[in-house]
Assembly symmetry: C2
Homo-oligomer: 166 residues x 2
Amino acid sequence: MDTEPPGRAPTALGDPRSDDKALGLLLASAHEAARSSLNAELRPLGIETRHFGILVTLDRAGPTSQRGLGALLGLDKSAVVRIMDELERLGLAVRKRAEHDRRAYAIELTTEGRRYARTSATAADEVSARLFGWLSPADRDRLVTLLTGILTRADDGSTGNEPNRS
Amino acid sequence: MDTEPPGRAPTALGDPRSDDKALGLLLASAHEAARSSLNAELRPLGIETRHFGILVTLDRAGPTSQRGLGALLGLDKSAVVRIMDELERLGLAVRKRAEHDRRAYAIELTTEGRRYARTSATAADEVSARLFGWLSPADRDRLVTLLTGILTRADDGSTGNEPNRS
DNA sequence: TATTGTTATACTCTATAACTATA
DNA sequence: TATAGTTATAGAGTATAACAATA
């Protein structure tokens, strides 16, 4: 018989269909669970979501500065430094100097890094298939529209707490 | 006709309508922006989202044990200890001993705590109106269904990876 | 033995400020 | 002056393990 969803109880504060606090909690839970799932899938590779994002971005966009990576992924520049330190120590990416601007880097994937980018993308696909695969194209489109609407409205009025406007 | 989404670039990794990684990033961004908005609104009261959740829950459910609060809000018991320390220091809640179980507390709001619970709920309503008020009942229903589906599918498979031997 | 709560610890994420070297 | 990157630091979220008192 149907028991309550285990562990987390997204409706604990009320019904998210009518209760804003419960809807916010549901949003938080879905995000946290999704990230946790991806981390679990990436664990055998020895990387986590933060590395994954940069690997995939570099594999896609080619050599990029740290600031560029931060802008693409919504990360602070200091966060990119830390993640890049880890990726270099893992031998997956290298900091080469940009030719035209000696302040900046042109971050490149190593051969191993490119392999990791693709292997981890495949691993991530398995998580995605489970989490998002059941969505019809219309469902998915709707979800993106709804989330984007919430995001832009939050960013509008959040007391000038602008994220990465650098 | 469509220009790029402002501020954060949730589509930086790709189009979330077709790219799973971008959809995950969008989910993260929406959550983070929502929490940030609520924190900004609660700041004048001197509390944050974590206190808000407990205040509202206590105001609604009446005296509750710490473990009960954690279960309702998806918080670890050690997290509840920390938040309760803060709420007691703020004079908003008190730890009374449960009558039937001398291990447990029956956490109660103070008069001031009840006032805070309602004032902060009103403040939260303003955030909610901006973030969620534009959703039609059908939109909202759909969003809840989609997020719940993602959450349960994530919780299903992500914890099975832990070896967790005894 | 199991559970409530406490403490210690640790890792992640986010954010800021101060600093360097270039531009 | 402004920008790319580095470093240090801090707060918040999440999690676990060890422990005392009680069930």
